[in-house]
Symmetry: C2
Subunit: 406 residues, 2 copies
Amino acid sequence: MNPTVILLSIGNELLQGSTVNTNASFLSRELFNSGFEVISQTVCADSHEAIRFRLGEAVRRADVVILTGGLGPTPDDVTREGVAAYFNVPLVFSEAQYRQMRKVYKRFGKRIPALVRREAFYPENAKPLINRYGIALGFSVEFQKKLIIALPGVPAELQNMYFDVVSPLLKRKFPDRKKNYRLIAKMVGISEPEVMKKLGKDFFSVPFDFGIYPMPGEVAIRIAADKARIFKGIEKKIRCRLKDWIYDWEEIPLCVTIGRLMVRKKQTLAVAESCTGGALAFQITRYPGASRFFKGGMVAYHRSVKEKIGVSRKILESFGEVSEKVALALAQQVRLRMEASYGIGITGIAGPEGGSPKKPVGLVYIALALPDGKAKAWKHVFWGNREQVQAKATVKALEYLWRKIR
Amino acid sequence: MNPTVILLSIGNELLQGSTVNTNASFLSRELFNSGFEVISQTVCADSHEAIRFRLGEAVRRADVVILTGGLGPTPDDVTREGVAAYFNVPLVFSEAQYRQMRKVYKRFGKRIPALVRREAFYPENAKPLINRYGIALGFSVEFQKKLIIALPGVPAELQNMYFDVVSPLLKRKFPDRKKNYRLIAKMVGISEPEVMKKLGKDFFSVPFDFGIYPMPGEVAIRIAADKARIFKGIEKKIRCRLKDWIYDWEEIPLCVTIGRLMVRKKQTLAVAESCTGGALAFQITRYPGASRFFKGGMVAYHRSVKEKIGVSRKILESFGEVSEKVALALAQQVRLRMEASYGIGITGIAGPEGGSPKKPVGLVYIALALPDGKAKAWKHVFWGNREQVQAKATVKALEYLWRKIR
């Protein structure tokens, strides 16, 4: 049995829905990958009592408790006080973190506000974990063979501190984690029930952990098994039954797979999008290294802009802005103008307005212009709200590109 | 005391960090706004035992328990079974949901896969909540004056079902919710400690709920008070002390505020971005109605694309791609070419690669071209990783535009 972890996220902003708990997903992913088992994530209020209660419960049930958030400067930040109250110890001051604060403020030519001094305090029985990426000090407490860690809630600070200090600390304290055989297969262009059907009933005749996760336009499956023989058998079946849809065996987004392929083949990409409004270009440029294959994009939102980039008025008038011809023209024009190997064109109706019986909300044409000058287009009617239509159209366009270049 | 709610999100994908728990933030926000108090959010594993344990705990502590997820077709979906086991009742079949399933599959010309039939079952002591937006049935159980609700985990389905059936059900069952006076102020261009300093110590001399939430480039404060007199006083202080930074008094993004202003003034916008790679255009087009003021965008990622849209080779060679002159040229050229009132230009180094001692990662120039043909540029060095630099540059550009048009 691998060491167990409970995550406690502190903050009324989470309970009131102002913030999405991305810290819990980041930590869970990293911990899972390192052979820890996260058995629960709990969000609790900015209050001493709530923190004490939840911490007590968590310490009884798990080997490791990681608290996040509530270490800021304002009066609603009470994680330090909550943990100190649980252990009945006073708070003490970290000179080292205070020096780090001074450095940060100096960079911006400012002095440390009085309020911010609070962020250098930690419970007396803890070890300070210096935050070199921000202001708020973290800390860890070892207690009855358990480990309690508190980290600031700002995602970038939390992530950097996790890699720098928390992960080494966890691995030192829990060296005997059982080896798990793990596999992830990321797929595009196939639905959850279709994956299950392709895998078949015999797939589940041996014992192992199985998870399947749908995302817009994508599906991932995750397998964990503790016996090599069983694992090899499962892996072979997946490889054989789902090979047409698997774009990667790593936890990476489709854009990164595409980027790696294009760089290897010395190909480049340009995109012209209407209803996705920049979502496709942004998906591609979110990840480092996009400049090695991505030339640029056009957001041809308004009709006049479509004309400007070379979609003829005749086409726009005869077929309408949302048509196969316009998608094809967008793909071909952007490929030529930006001198790229491939061009993608997208035009459609993301909604909620602008639909008609003949051209409903969700109607999207996607075109791909190829290095030889030819182009192909596909018609889709995506189901969902504006956000989903934009997301699905983006993934589908990337899928067509991937199928061409893989 | 308002009725209390505990949210239980079911799913190994959450515990393993494959999925971010946006359902919890959606429900928390809606419930908070309707006068319910979410006292805890918990994520638990896809297992009967975990669900029974957490459900038991939640029913003891809160008036309402909402379970999300684990209602899908695959063997890891066991929320139905977990709830039935807690109440020791069998599962029964909903013909109404099965008819809805048939409709959805018919739309795509397919028959219902055998696996999917499971999704029409619910615990015998529950009332079925028909899901008109997807496949999986929801349900509700009334038990010892408590209300237990289970909803599918697909965000769009959950959200639609919340508005259609859950919200009316909750309001009927708990009519006596205490009126809360609430206020939100959304600010841009000011940091969390600066907001606290502007508010001053006397601000906190009366009792009320206060929360302050930093996002990249933005800060929101949320106030709740139960006495009208106290609330009015607080509101006046905020209005007076923070008026230079408040862009809205509603829970809306800066882009929507800008859109409303531009539509009212009959102005239009075009953007040319390099290091933000489409993030600015996508921010603007994410929200319905963008077509009323947004003409389009250019993602001038590669140097050759910058030249194509009219940044002269001389400027690129003398000053470099990341320079004030290039930002100005991008803003002015895109404004002219797309015939917009305003043009925004962004060029910078998002990282992690591409930095140098003279031009470090995080260096970003932002320019704004005005209706009179003039343009202005600003230099920033943003702190953080690629994602943060892109996000901060996007918000800062929108801030400059907002200050000009408000």
